[in-house]
Amino acid sequence: MKPAALGPDKKLSGRLGTGAWYKEIWKHRMTYTLLIPGLIWLILFAYLPMGGLSLAFKDYKASEGILGSPWVGFENFKYVFRDPNFIDAVWRTLYINIIKLVIMFPVPILLALALNELRMRKTKKWFQTIFTFPQFLSWIIVSGIVINVLSYDGLVNSALQLLGLPTINFLGSEEMFLPMLIITDIWKSAGWGAIIFLAAISGIDQDQYESSQIDGASRMQQIFKITLPNILPTVSVMFILNVGGIMSAGFDQIFNLANAATQNVSQVLDVYIYRVTFQSSTDFSFSTAVSLFRSLVNMFLLLGANKVAKLMGGDGLFR
């Protein structure tokens, strides 16, 4: 899928010349006008705040502002890397999110494929609503439900007791923390994630299915030979985006589900940043240094995933 050439494409401007290039823009002026709000939003909320990253190299004083605060070079990073909790948090973030990615990424695809196979429209919509609904619950509510269900006097343990079975310490078990994260995340977000893949599936040319039916292809063969190859570019883009967010995923979920018993397996980088920013003495420079480090790792992961996707024959996100 090639994106529409709206920007000052080098080939286009080279072919048309500068004057013709401006003419081309003028010709599509309404389209460009529609782009303006989005561009303003992007500049205001994505690019301008990047100036704040300079705090990582400054000793921030609120009264002097971001620009006026004195430069301190890599001083903040010296403190960041001295903290063993930071190093632990980096590895734990990678560990948790890579496992989540491996296990969770295929789930929305499978769900989309399954929903697509439902032939009765009403049933399909009903299931889609059921699977999508949890996405609209905040993690505070979801964690409240999980804690009530899994606590010692919760639903599950009460049922176990009634059956004469021993109770299980779900909430205080380090071993069960990661499975709990994965299961609750799948429950909450798989339905929402499936929408994108369902949209991709709905864009597949129906002639392909009709032809395959004439050739006697089974439903499974249609899925593997037509549906999956057609949605592969979407899968590839979603995978790259997921990899690019590995270091910054899951704060709300982990923060709300963790407790003292699981703190050794739950302090991910975002929880660490929250703690150093808000729970000890204020140090915005220090927390910005940690955030910058996280963003850099995310960027390298994104570039790496993009490269791998292209090596495997996909389009990637960018060239």
Binding site: Y79, A261, Q279, T282
Partner: protein, 532 residues
């Protein structure tokens, strides 16, 4: 024509942006006015004063007689900002740093932040003559000790630390009110456990074991023998055995004149072992570490399923417990509750020497002179004897009177508290309620006397063979990046340690070792600056 068409959407976007910017940049017009008074001694100009407090003021409450009295007397209108307890620190931090601090706000003083704020001009500097102009405030301020120390560091007054006690200090030395437990008196009698004013941690565990074994309340699996959350367990088990195990006293100067880190002391391990024993024997709730805020004490006073809970040493806490038990369980707590202080297993009493302040009042650096003076007038009045009586007893002749022996007599109907009649009395901005609670007749005399007895026992036991963690001004007022970085949530760290599998001592040693890269630089700094 086509040009015009294209220009329209651009213009619309540009105009919207301008409007948005204009709206965002406009701020409320600040009330201005002087503090001149008319012939009746009333302020001529009305001032709108923004205030931020943790007292919840519900809709319509400001219309009641009590709040109106203050607003009329000082001719002010409150712009009240309620801050939830849980977001107090964060909200204030953001307001201060972004220059959005209301005119006056309660702030949970953090020394490192305070020094930064002063350095950056984010707090209002008091006029040099403020102590002469508002003598009641100055007298209460002096009692905190912190005010004078901070003036030495900053060269002026930027903050009013709130005095815990002003005219009704219960004991000397003052020991922190924490470390008082409540236990079921009726169950103790049923299981043959002696009632005393002080117990060692093991004695309390023994009592809990007896209750668990004999179940005098017939609660079965619902019974929670010791209903502590992680913080309560730190206070009543670990601190009782190791006075330097809490964040307030973790860095301390030892007898050798050098600085140490309390959590690495063997006494802390003793406390941890006792806590783990209590957990493993099922005396603590299996999920005590997930409890937030009042869940631990609610098991005692709301659900009635706990044998022991953490209470704290203020008479008002005991009164609240009495009310909660009456409301929720329909019982008279006087027949069921016994309170006591907790000793270490070696019989020694440990706690923290109490500096006479808790949290503070700060003012916006942009506050007008008139507003500042008006607020200070109000605070000065609220700190006076008349103001304290009004705040804590209501209106004389209507809510209270002097008795035959000049004692305070409440006129409120039985079962009605001043809070019921005049909810959210936030106007007591400065002196904390702890002071008046010592003499407040709205609190049962028995509770007040017991509170004083506990304070006096703590002071006596703490100084005669006990171990009180002294409030070291050098350490407390020292601020550095390593010190900020080496701050831990000890209650969660300890809970995690006792829950880990394997040998506790080995795990504790490993934990101590893991913190050294952060702790040692702080000790080095403190030793280089303050060691003998």
């Amino acid at each position: 024509m086509r040009m015009k068409k294209a220009f329209k959407p651009l213009m619309a976007i540009a105009m919207s942006a301008v409007m948005l910017t204009a709206t965002a940049c406009s701020s409320e017009t600040a009330s201005t006015g002087g503090n001149e008074k008319d012939e009746n001694g009333k302020y001529k100009d009305k001032l709108t004063i923004s205030v931020a407090q943790t007292t919840e003021v519900k809709d319509g409450v400001l219309d009641n007689e009590f709040h109106k009295y203050w607003m009329d007397k000082f001719n002010i209108e409150w712009d009240y900002n309620y801050i939830q307890w849980d977001s107090w620190a964060e909200k204030l931090r953001l307001w201060i740093n972004s220059g959005d601090l209301p005119d006056v706000a309660s702030w949970n003083y953090v020394h490192g932040d305070f020094m930064n704020y002063v350095d950056q001009g984010l707090l209002y500097k008091f006029p040099d003559d403020w102590k002469e102009r508002w003598p009641n405030v100055a007298a209460a301020y002096k009692e905190t000790g912190l005010g004078d120390k901070l003036e030495e560091l900053t060269g002026g007054t930027y903050i009013l630390p709130k005095p815990v006690y002003y005219e009704n200090k219960p004991a000397d030395p003052l020991v922190n009110q924490i470390g008082v437990i409540a236990m079921r008196k009726d169950w103790a009698e049923a299981v043959g456990f002696e009632l005393k004013d002080a117990y060692t941690t093991s004695e309390i565990m023994k009592y809990a074991e007896l209750v668990k074994e004999k179940d005098p309340g017939k609660l079965g699996s619902k019974l929670i023998p010791i209903s502590y959350n992680a913080d309560d367990a730190l206070t009543n088990i670990i601190m009782a055995n190791s006075e330097h195990s809490r964040v307030e006293s973790a860095y301390y100067k030892g007898e050798d004149g050098k600085f140490h880190w309390g959590p690495a002391d063997p006494e802390t391990l003793t406390g941890l072992k006792l806590m783990q024993k209590a957990y493993k024997e099922g005396l603590l709730d299996p999920e005590f570490y997930t409890w937030k805020n009042n869940e631990g004490s609610n098991n005692f006073k709301v659900k009635g399923v706990a044998a022991v809970t953490s209470l704290g040493g203020l008479a008002s806490y005991r009164q609240d417990m009495d009310k909660a038990m009456k409301t929720n369980l329909g019982v008279n707590s006087d027949e069921l509750v016994h309170t006591a202080i907790v000793l270490g297993d070696d019989g020694k009493y440990r706690n923290l020497e109490q500096p006479n302040f808790w949290s503070s009042l700060i003012f916006s650096p942009d506050i007008s002179k008139e507003k500042f003076e008006r607020i200070m007038d109000l605070i000065d009045y609220s700190t006076s004897k008349e103001g304290q009586l009004l705040l804590n007893m209501g209106f004389e002749g209507k809510d209270w009177k002097y008795g035959e022996n000049n004692e305070l007599v409440s006129l409120l109907p039985e079962g009605t508290s001043l809070e019921d009649k005049y909810p959210a009395r936030f106007e007591g901005l400065y002196v904390l309620g702890d002071d008046f609670s010592m003499i407040n007749p709205a609190i049962k005399k028995d509770y007040r006397e017991t509170a004083v007895k506990h304070f006096q026992n703590k002071a006596k036991l703490g100084t005669e063979g006990g171990k009180l963690a002294t409030y070291d001004w050098d350490v407390q007022l020292y601020d550095s990046k390593p010190k900020s970085q080496a701050t831990f949530e000890y209650q969660n760290e300890y809970a995690n340690l006792i829950l880990q599998s394997g040998d506790l001592e080995t795990n504790w040693k490993k934990w101590v070792q893991s913190k050294q890269s952060l702790v040692q630089p702080v000790l080095d700094e403190l030793n280089s600056k303050f060691a003998n």
